[in-house]
């Protein structure tokens, strides 16, 4: 494996990893609030799942960038 391939792999890892960090931070805060809301109103469960799952798009976009990095470079 040459240095270029290694750098591509590091870049792909960073794309997913940093996106996952941001997604995790957001999900943590939303999740805490969502659990509080569900405790008060159980009928909010569906919306809570939705709200918690929304920041996951960040990591999916990170995954897309990582995949493009590997496939195109």
């Amino acid at each position: 494996m040459d240095i270029g391939t290694g750098l591509v792999a590091i870049g792909a890892g960073l794309a997913v990893g940093l996106a996952a960090l941001g997604s995790g931070y957001a999900q943590g805060r939303i999740g805490a609030a969502a659990i509080g809301a569900i405790a008060e109103k159980p009928e909010m469960t569906g919306r809570a799942i939705l709200l918690v799952a929304i920041p996951e798009t960040l990591v999916i976009l990170g995954f897309a960038i990582a995949a493009m990095t590997i496939l195109l470079l």
Binding site: G46, R47, A53, E56, I60
Partner: protein, 651 residues
Amino acid sequence: MARVRVIGPKRDLVRAIEELHTLEALHLDVVGTAVGTGLASVPEDHGRDRHRGELSLLLVELDALLSLVTRPDRPTPVGGDQVPGSIDASAMRSAIAPTVHEVEARVRELEELEAEAVILPRYVQPLRQLLPLVPWLADLSDHDLALLRLDTAALVLNLENDTVLSRLRAEVAAELGERFELVATAVDENTVGCVLVFPHDAGDVVSGLLGREHVRHVALPVRYSKLSLKGAIEAMEKRVRALPAAIQEAQAAVRALVSPHAAQWQLYRTAAAAELEQLDAIRLLRTTDRAYVMEGWLPRNETGRFREELEQRLGGHVVVEESKPARDDRCVPVLLRNARLVRPFEALAQFLDVPRSASLDPSLVMAVFMPLMFGIMVGDIGYGVILLVLGLYARRRFAHGARVLRDISFVLVAGAAWSLVFGVLFGEFFGDLGKRLLGYDWAVWMYRPGAQALEPLLLFAIAIGVVHVVLGLLLGMWQSARFRESRTLLDRLGTLLVIAGLFVVAGVAADHLPETAMTPAVAVAIVGLVLVLSLHGAMGLMVGPLELLGALGNILSYLRLAAVGLASAYLAIVANELALAGPIWLGIIVGTLFHTLNLALAGFSPMVQALRLHYVECSSKFFEGGGTPFHPFGERHTTGTGPSRMVEQIT
């Protein structure tokens, strides 16, 4: 749904309410009081209000009592046939009163025992830690201490700051000089356990000191406070060991007290709840001098049967009128009716919200796509078989249980079936275990973790996304056309055009489509863009592009189908690698552990991801929430599922 108006002579009002209650068919709604109709609310009645208050109190008491009976012993709520004309709430409360007092006493005992089981171990731990610090004291029996004319006090201090202990020592020294011994040990961050040994004749002084407010202490329970340190610990530990049995005994005593009456109380509860519902219904109806008018909602195909049934029950002294609500009437209650295979997805669809009246029910779309997406993400024969077995077991286990559990187990079975299909397509059996055992790649389509599979896998995920989002947009357009919402219709059309144009452009750029398609594609995208921008007026330049980016982001979001699937496949491969790294017995343990973890993730994560894709990416294109669920008057939740009895009969 049809708006139904029931009109009859005022003298039959009470009977009519009772009959409607037992029919369990009509969703009652408030009657409008248009000027000139002569309709008026039923006048307030203090007697009726008092009766309502008594019934509410009775219901609270009965609910509290019945909650003490464990589920297997709890009688099933009876149906709505036993609707009395008028029940005597006071007599019922008097009937249950003797048992209530006895139950309250038993419950208090039980609560004290449970509190003791929580608190006592907190004393034992610090005292155990103190024991080695005063071995000479620990060896002295209660009798020896009495002979030496010494007393001990065991304390658990909740420290507010570090000076509390030194202040306590100084204050005891000020009173007793050197005639005491105080040893202490930290139990945790804010708690210190102490033993104070002092002359018997200084008992009052020490009690006074410990009673002062600035020395916050938690004294031992009275029954242990006179014992020696060792004696107290032994007595407490013995008590801690005995408490679970004592609690069980107390619980059994409560159950034994309640169980013989539970069936009768359940009948009381049903009757009281029915009476209360009928009293509440009076607020919704209207009367003239001689007639009553009730209004409500009913599935349109059931009005004929409803009319016949009510006329028969009320001896023909009733008129049932039917009218068709306006399409955009948001007050119409919603009753979802789907085919048997789609019904389990109704609960999942309604997790988000109840669809608005006359709007599209997303259950069918979920029934088609959700198991498919689940299968794409899991995509493993081994996991699929296990999930299928678990799902079938859950369906049997919850056959008579809560509907939501049965529904979720059905969804799991459907998802597991698709997992088997994609397991064959991807050639995965517990990751690469099948490939290792057979010695060759047996994937019908592509082996997901393979280097060549990434690109087709991503394209496949995007393709699913395009189909799903475009379907959502088409359904949204159809719905907008039905509701005559032209702006929404054009907005969705514009988004659709832009998406179509951009994907054709991407196809041409990737050499998958002929170059001749480029110009029409760009034109279509521009037309769509202009359409979206123009619809938002001055804000269009900002809002329009954001909406389009959101739609494209929605499609890219389907990449999670590939991402979650790949993560699952790689975790399975890691499990196999680790299993083969050591001796076979260790390998089996490690492999089982990792595959179980992966299976647990496979059962949960794809379900949540598939739900999210439906809620956010697809349903948002057509789903309109804010509907009111259809609840027939007098509906009993005896079975927990399905339509009401009347509706069941009719259908």
